[in-house]
């Protein structure tokens, strides 16, 4: 009876070892994808936290449409970040997603309270969207002017529009 028990136990132990090894192997095999999944979840969580922060920051002095526009800007930035990372290549993509989740999370968790306690923090929050808009528009203006000056002028000269 004992010998039969021992035999079953040995077989079960062998099975457990094999199963554990198999699981470990499967886990190791699937680990990169798990990490990728974690990176995506972190990216999503970071975006969600940013949207929540935008809502908490801007809702008290904004109408619903304005807050939605800013949240949409956050979504767009997160997607653009992912797009840039994807364009850079696969080696950077997953890490970039993870960073884009971790950094906002840490910033919102630790830096934002300190920032809002700062005397001028509220003013900076209020002025941030129009300032970003102004900076972006200035960048686009100078950039496009540079492109047009070099590109269109060249085409015009080549088309003999300016014979001199």
């Amino acid at each position: 009876m004992n010998s039969k028990k021992n035999e079953v136990w040995e077989k079960f132990k062998t099975f457990l070892i094999a199963f554990t090894k198999g699981m470990l192997l499967a886990l190791l095999w699937i680990l990169p994808w798990l990490m990728r999944l974690v990176a995506v979840l972190l990216w999503l969580a970071g975006g969600a936290l940013l949207m929540d922060a935008v809502h908490r920051l801007y809702a008290p002095f904004s109408q619903e449409g304005e807050v939605v526009a800013l949240q949409f800007a956050v979504i767009f930035l997160m997607v653009a970040w992912a797009g840039v990372a994807l364009r850079r290549g696969g080696n950077f993509f997953w890490g970039s997603l993870a960073v884009s989740g971790i950094v906002p999370t840490l910033l919102i968790r630790y830096a934002l309270p300190w920032f809002l306690d700062w005397r001028y923090g509220d003013l900076v929050v209020r002025i941030l969207p129009p300032a970003l808009f102004a900076l972006g528009l200035m960048y686009l203006t100078f950039r496009f002017r540079l492109l047009r000056k070099k590109g269109v002028s060249h085409e015009r000269v080549c088309s003999n529009e300016f014979p001199d």
Binding site: F72, L77, L123, P130, F133, R148
Partner: protein
């Protein structure tokens, strides 16, 4: 062309890579900034509109939309004008200045509007609201003025102005020529009319002289009954002068004494015209209108 090549071509066109420049086409970064700015434009535009609605009467909120053309939409418009439209130095200055000017207005209205929610009584809110109430209408009106300045300084407008100015000068000079021609025509008409009058006057004067001569000869013929005709011919009077006249008067006196009948009174001039009449008439006729017979 396969599907992949078509897609790449479309992306290249959208990103402006088909435009040959020293700086390449649009990059993904440019497109991201562009789209981000579009989203932020919604926020700032909404803020500006919300602020502008507080400065217009109830029921006239449409004016706030009009005011956006001097703030958010104006900034974008001046940016596009500076990129694609301006062609002269002054146009560059106007478009760039008002691009920055409108952006300042956008930041001001956005900040002020956000402060008016929750911190309406704060020192900063009150100060910014007062500033914005003064500056924002100024920005909007200045945009209108800038539009006119931009139009006036465009090369096409300046070309048209120069052409119009030259045409005006040409018209003025041609009007002077026409005036001179008109004056000459009037002067010519005046001179011709005067010449005609003079001709008529000369003819009338000649007729009058002939009439006077006939009248004088008639009277002299009528008075020839006294037998003194021929002694006082005009030739004698002209050539003899005062001495001849005196001699004639003496002869007349002698004849008076010889004649038994009543004397007939005879004057030297005879027909009432003095002896200087003929000489005077000749002197007044230097062009020979009245030839002596």
């Amino acid at each position: 062309m396969n599907e992949s090549a078509q897609t790449n071509s479309l992306i290249d066109t959208l990103l402006g890579r088909d435009v040959e420049t020293d700086h390449g086409g649009l990059t993904l970064g440019d497109v991201i900034v562009l789209l981000l700015d579009l989203v932020l434009l919604i926020y700032t535009g909404w803020r500006s509109y919300d602020f502008l609605t507080t400065s217009v009467p109830q029921g006239y909120e449409i004016l706030a939309l009009v005011g956006l053309w001097g703030l958010d939409i104006g900034a974008v418009a001046w940016s596009l004008v500076w990129i694609f439209g301006s062609a002269s130095k002054y146009q560059d200055w106007v478009s760039m200045f008002f691009f920055v000017f409108d952006l300042v207005g956008v930041v001001l209205t956005s900040l002020t509007d956000s402060l008016l929610y929750g911190q309406a009584d704060g020192v900063l809110s009150v100060m910014l609201k007062n500033v914005a109430m003064l500056v924002v209408p100024l920005i909007v009106v200045a945009n209108v003025v800038a539009g006119f300045i931009y139009h006036l300084t465009s090369p096409q407008t300046r070309e048209r102005r120069a052409k119009r100015k030259a045409e005006h000068e040409y018209r003025v000079k041609m009007m002077q020529i026409r005036n001179m021609e008109r004056d000459l025509a009037y002067a010519e008409a005046y001179l011709l009319a005067r010449q005609e009058i003079l001709d008529k006057s000369a003819a009338m004067a000649k007729i009058k002289m002939l009439q006077d001569q006939i009248e004088r000869q008639t009277r002299m013929a009528l008075r020839d009954l006294t037998g003194i005709h021929g002694l006082t011919t005009p030739q004698d009077i002209e050539t003899a002068g005062q001495e001849s006249l005196s001699a004639l008067q003496k002869k007349i006196e002698e004849l008076k004494r010889k004649l038994p009948a009543e004397p007939v009174p005879v004057t030297a001039s005879g027909n009432g015209h003095g002896p200087q009449g003929g000489a005077g008439g000749a002197a007044a006729d230097p062009l020979g209108y009245f030839p002596e017979e």
